[in-house]
Amino acid sequence: MLARAIEAAGISTVVVTMVPYLAEASGTPRIVAVEFPFGHPLGHAHDRDEQLKVIRDALRALQEIEQPNTAVHLPYEWPDFDHWRTAWHPPETPPIIQWLREQARQRAEGKHQK
């Protein structure tokens, strides 16, 4: 959404994302997809080489994409999936998740009381 506003104002944009599905569906002009966990679009902390690698790939895509709403998928693997599957989670359950779980709990209780 912000990419669209900036592009519409006359600035060429590129978006590096771990959810290309949403970027494509919402009409993002240039998309570079990385299979990295949330919170880490450009790689591991302090890994300058990895960050520059992803950035340079994204800059190449910015130059080479000619068709609006194109996604380039980068091939980099993020190691240790078992750890990172949950390591990207915040320390405190997000308010909306707490709210949804509470709703589900109340519904389940309501059923039991019938």
């Binding site: 506003a5 104002a9 600035i11 919170g39 679009p41 902390a45 599957r85 909306i96």
Partner: protein, 165 residues
Amino acid sequence: MTVDSFKWLPPALANYYKGMAIQKEEVPWTPLTKPLSQCRFSLLSTSGIYLKGKQPPFDLDRERREPFWGDPSYRAIPRDVRQEEIGVAHLHINTSDIEADINIALPVHRFLELEQAGEIGSLAPTSYSVMGYQQSQDEWRERYGPEIANRMKEEGVDCAFLTPV
């Protein structure tokens, strides 16, 4: 290789995203008119970065009280920002790696290196930070998106590099 958009999401959240009704609208398009080595770049992250002591953090307390609300405002982050100056306010990700290294989310120091090396023309004086948990994108579309775009234009920005989290 095709990136799996749902790899990191628990099944319930994955289903939520897949079920979202997304408006496919006309795609805006601004072609590049010069090589990157002549382009001025600005950066944008959705990770909730702010300058400690100089800027208020994103309003997480209000989000805790109103779970369907996310702070839609933005923060201007200068090109000479130091790691020690930033805080990260976001309730939906583990922020500790960004607090250790801003560049995984807002790559200011990497872009300064690219500027030094002549791979890009320059990094603009100002980059931008927002907080990505937004149920409604109305404020972004109608107010803050155009405001950020205008400020970029005022600084002579040619290209924007966006790295949502």
